[in-house]
């Protein structure tokens, strides 16, 4: 993708068209959007999505863009929260042909371009993998060999989002290492990690502080805070650790 100077402009709401929806795990679905006039994004950025009911009531949530900047379509990864207001609509009701009001891309701070180098440590909790997947996909599309280690916490094997694609990407690439931890249940014969991410696990999995990795952490707030604290405890420079807390699960 040719990078051009971005003319300064305010964010504005616009309507994207849902062109495909694709379930992934039992609780998640990808939405693929075509957004007229989309100027592109950086891996890690998000969009704000807004739903409007006929009586005028509106609800708004943020979703990370899971697609690489090189893709034509904007992919959002939605986890369906049973008591959510927005996510059940996005996963159960929205279908190809529907419009989805959104604005973005937002949040150039939590973003990575392949030419920034690394090495990269990516730490994901559940659907927090979305912006990190954009980084991994971007790295692949750009033919970039920056060493990456992804530490990915999921509830169970079936709940690993993007599992097959991650397996494929890692299989062909020595410089991409993926480590899973399954916190609630494990398949028979599982020999991997089986607990919440902690300092010891990070010490074993991540690049050492001496290697000065860029670290991106995304997921539920308790995971992000525990990981950020642990990373600083291990000696990682706070300015090289970027976090994206999900906040209250009101999705």
């Amino acid at each position: 993708m040719i990078r051009v100077a971005e003319a300064p402009r305010k964010l504005a709401w616009r309507i994207g068209e849902v062109v495909e929806t694709s379930p992934d795990t039992p609780r998640t679905k990808s939405l693929f959007l075509e957004v007229p006039g989309w100027e592109g994004h950086r891996a890690g950025q998000h969009v704000d999505v807004r739903l409007t009911a006929e009586d005028g009531y509106q609800a708004q949530r943020s979703y990370s863009i899971a697609s690489a900047p090189e893709d034509d379509r904007v992919e959002l990864l939605v986890e369906r929260l049973d008591d959510g207001e927005v996510s059940p609509y996005l996963t159960d009701e929205l279908r190809p042909g529907d419009g989805l009001e959104l604005r973005g891309p937002i949040g150039g701070w939590f973003a990575w371009d392949a030419n920034e180098g690394g090495p990269l440590v990516l730490v994901a909790g559940g659907s927090g993998v979305a912006p990190l997947m954009a980084m991994i996909r971007h790295r692949k599309a750009a033919g970039n060999g920056t060493p990456v280690r992804l530490l990915f916490s999921s509830r169970s094997y079936e709940d690993i989002i993007f599992r097959k694609e991650l397996e494929r990407l890692a299989a062909g690439d020595q410089t991409l290492r993926i480590t899973h931890t399954l916190t609630r249940s494990r398949p028979e014969g599982w020999t991997g990690y089986d607990r919440r991410i902690d300092e010891q696990m990070l010490g074993e999995v991540a690049f050492s502080p001496g290697e000065r990795p860029l670290v991106f952490v995304c997921g539920p707030t308790p995971l992000v805070e525990a990981v950020a604290t642990a990373l600083v405890g291990l000696g990682h420079e706070p300015t090289r650790v970027k976090t994206e807390r999900f906040g209250p699960t009101g999705g």
Partner: protein
């Protein structure tokens, strides 16, 4: 800019002439004519057409939304105190034990947030502000409620007296949780809920009104939900 300067801003008291006025909160559509409706989306919140307990423009909600402007304070009860201060002959303070030893009353009220959700029949327990002000000698006509973390909100003294306000410590029979303003919050249910300062630590009586945290940033100085006083100029 001093917060008092908001009085000098013509917008504070009314909408300037160059700005057209278009109230649309009480009709079906809201906002600036965006027009896009999400097919098949029904919000969790319900319109309450014709329900006399629901002020104009509000939706009923099942949960109790949490809105924050800063970190949630966690003042240990041993360090907590509540003060009546300012334009009073004798400032007063209560420790937590002293405060909880005061007579509390249980009460049920509807509450209304400026962000358009309303919750009917919420049950609380707290100390009436009238009791805390009993015998206070003052010429002040206004109060500023101040909280841990620096939040403030201003009200006319008459809006927190005459059985209209409490310092509430119990919600739905349980100690008020920190996310909802515990250990104690001001509760002034007849006004929009931003006036019910969470984590309240005292009331300062003042002779000249002082716009608080949100009042100095666009929110209406009075905040009466029945007159839909949400923003400056409403």
């Amino acid at each position: 800019m001093n917060v008092w300067d908001t009085h000098l801003d013509p917008d504070f008291g009314g909408v300037p002439e160059w700005m057209y006025s278009r109230r649309s909160t009480t009709t079906g559509g809201i906002g600036m004519g965006r027009g896009f409706i999400s097919r098949g989306f029904r919000g969790r919140r319900r319109r309450a057409e014709g329900d006399e307990r629901v002020p104009p423009g509000q939706y009923l909600v099942d949960g109790f939304p949490v809105l924050s402007a800063g970190p949630t304070p966690h003042t240990p009860l041993a360090e907590w105190s509540f003060a009546i201060e300012g334009e009073v002959d004798e400032p007063r303070t209560w420790s937590w034990e002293e405060f909880r030893a005061l007579p509390s009353e249980k009460f049920t009220r509807d509450i209304h947030c400026v962000t358009k959700w309303s919750k009917l029949g919420t049950t609380w327990e707290g100390v009436p502000v009238d009791l805390l002000l009993e015998g206070v000698d003052t010429t002040a006509e206004y109060v500023v409620a101040f909280s841990d973390g620096g939040y403030t909100t201003n009200l006319p003294l008459e809006e927190v007296t005459g059985s209209k306000a409490w310092i509430a410590h119990t919600y739905e029979g349980e100690p008020l949780t920190p996310e909802h303003g515990g250990p104690a919050r001001l509760l002034v249910p007849h006004l929009y809920l931003w006036k019910s300062a969470k984590w309240v630590r005292g009331l300062r009586l003042i002779t000249e009104d002082e716009p608080g945290f949100w009042e100095s940033l666009g929110y209406h100085n009075q905040g009466d939900p029945w007159r839909e006083q949400r923003y400056w100029g409403d």
